[in-house]
Symmetry: D2
Subunit: 175 residues, 4 copies
C-alpha cells in the first residue's frame, strides 16, 4: 500500500535478497535425525521482524557453503549483475562467505552496487539463533553503505577484502 | 580483547546504548499475572546476536513510554549530550519515541552526534519478538548514518521529524 | 488411522479438552501493548508435542480465572457432565482453579469421570512457558488416574480437595 | 527444602531420571556446524516446566541411540536395578528405545519397578521441540503406572512389548 503513489517508471524493489542456504536456513529433519535444507525462512524472519523494507526475495540455491562450487558462485555473481536493484543482500554460509564476496567484487557489473553478504552461526530454526539480528543488521547496512561488496556479521560490517572468518572462534575479524 | 592494541587516547566505546524501558524490556510477572519491568535484556540480546560491536550500556530508567515525564526526557537528553560517544542507540517505548527524539534533537549539544532510537512491538521475552531484528538494525544504522536524530523501526530509518507512529497498525510511517 | 478397527458403537474421543482461558492462552496485543485473549493455542501445542492422543477440543470461554462468574462455572460443570467422554482435561487460570474443581466435583454427574484441571504460570506465547510441560502432564494423568477431580500442575497431581495455590510462590501445595 | 521434615528412613527421591542422550539433548555446534552432544538439558527443562516432582538426575551416557552398544544397555539396566527408587524415567534416542526397554524388562531386578522411557523427535534446543511435552508426560506416567517397562511418546504410553517406532512417520504405534 505504501507504494500506491509510486510513479510507473519504478520497477525495482529497494533491496534484492538472494538466498543461497547456509546455517541460516538449516532445519532439523526429525525422521532422519539430521540437519537438512528445506524452504528458506527469510520471509518468516522478515515477518517476525515486522520489516517494512521493500524487498524482493529469490532463492538461488540451498547449500552448505562448504559444498558451493564455482558454478554456484557464477550463478550468484550473474544474478547480482543482472538484477534491477542496486542494493543487494546475500544470505550465505559463513565458511566461504568471503570467497563468494571476492567473486562478486571481481565482476565489473557490480561496481555501482552495494552488496552485503550475511549469515548465521546458529540455524534460525533454533531458538538461540543470531539470524534475526544479522538480518536486521545486513538490511540496514545495505540501505546506507556506498557501492561495494561487504560482509555483515556480529553487528559489524567489513569491506570484503578486509575480513576473515576465524574458524576457531567463529567470529569475523578485520585483517 | 579485540581492543588490546588500541592507543591509550581512545576512551569511548564505539556506541553508547541508553536503555529506557518500553515494550523491548517488558517481562511477564508470573505471580501477579501481569506485564512488568525487570532488568533490561539488552546484554542477553547482544550475546544472542553474537554482537562484536564495542558498546557501553547504561540503563537510565525502566518505564512504559506513555508514563515518561518531562524530567525523564531531560535525563535522556542530558545523557546523550554528556556521554563521550558520538554514536548512540536509545531503546524506547514506541508510543512516544518521536517525542523523545524531538527533545534530543532540540539540544545543540547533540548536533555532532548520531542518535538512533529503536524499540519493539512485542517484548523480547516473547518468542515472537521483533526486538532482535530491530536491535541489529539500530546498531547498524548508528554506525554509518551521519550526525542527526533518527528512528529505526521495521528495518527502516527515518529522520525524527519525518516520521509518525500509526497507532492503528503499529507501523512507523514517513510524513 | 489408529481407529480404523474401532467398532461402530464408539462415538467419543478418548479425552475431551475444555478450554476456559487463563494464563495458558494469554497473548500480547502489540497495538494496545497489553495482555489479551485471542484464539486458544491448544491445537498448536498438541501439534508441537506431536500428540497422538485422540482428543476433542471445545473452547467454552476465554477468561482470566479471577473474572470467572458462577454462571461460567455452571457452564463448565454442565459440559463435564454432558460430554460423552469419561476422561476430561480443563485448561484454566490458576488463581481459581481449585474453586472450579470443587464445583465440578459437587455434581453427581461426574462421579464416574476423571477430570484433570491444568494451567500455566507463563503464557504459552512466551518462550519460557511451562504450558507444554503441564499439558503433557495433564493429558497423561487424565489417561490413567481413576475417576475423580484433580489438579495437575508442576508435574504433580492432587485430589482437588487436597491442594491450594500458594499465591506468594505461585506453586500448588498439598494441604 | 520441601523434604526437610521427611523422616530419616526416606532415602530415595520419588523419581530417578537416567539420561542417555538421544535427540532430546542434541545441540548445534556453531564452530563445526553440526549436531553434537553437550550437557543434558534435563535440569533446565524441569525448571522451565516449574516441576516440583522430587527427582534425582544421573547422566549415564550421551549418545545417539543408533550408536548404543550392548555394554551401554547393560549399564542402563544395572542402574535401573541398583537405584533405590522404584519409579524411573529414562531419556533415550527414539530409534532403539524399544530395544533398550526390552533389555531392562528382561532383568528380574526391575520386576517391581515402573520404568518409563521417553525421548524427542526434535532437539530441545530447537524452538519447536516436543521434548518438554514428552517430559511432562513421562514424569506423570511414571508416578501412576503400575510396575512394568513402558514407552511414553506422543502423549501416549505403551507396554514395551506392544509398540514399535514407525521409521517413516516417526510415530510410535501399537503392535
Amino acid at each position: 500500500m505504501a507504494w500506491s503513489s509510486i510513479p510507473v517508471a519504478r520497477v525495482a524493489a529497494v533491496i534484492r535478497i538472494f538466498v543461497t542456504g547456509g546455517t541460516f536456513d538449516k532445519n532439523y529433519d526429525e525422521i532422519r535425525g539430521a540437519l537438512t535444507f528445506g524452504d528458506t525462512h527469510l520471509a518468516e524472519m522478515l515477518r517476525l521482524g515486522r520489516s517494512r523494507v521493500d524487498v524482493s526475495i529469490r532463492t538461488l540455491m540451498m547449500v552448505d557453503s562448504l559444498d558451493m562450487t564455482d558454478a554456484d558462485r557464477e550463478l550468484i555473481v550473474r544474478n547480482c549483475v543482472q538484477c534491477a536493484e542496486s542494493r543487494i543482500v546475500v544470505t550465505h554460509g559463513t565458511d566461504t562467505m568471503v570467497e563468494t564476496a571476492r567473486a562478486i567484487s571481481a565482476h565489473p557489473g557490480v561496481a555501482a552496487k552495494t552488496v552485503v553478504l550475511t549469515g548465521a552461526m546458529i540455524p534460525y530454526a533454533f531458538g538461540s539463533s543470531d539470524g534475526l539480528f544479522n538480518l536486521g543488521s545486513a538490511l540496514s547496512f545495505a540501505q546506507v553503505l556506498p557501492a561495494g561488496v561487504y560482509i555483515a556479521m556480529n553487528g559489524q560490517h567489513f569491506a570484503w577484502d578486509r575480513v576473515r572468518k576465524n574458524r576457531e572462534t567463529g567470529v569475523f575479524e578485520s585483517v
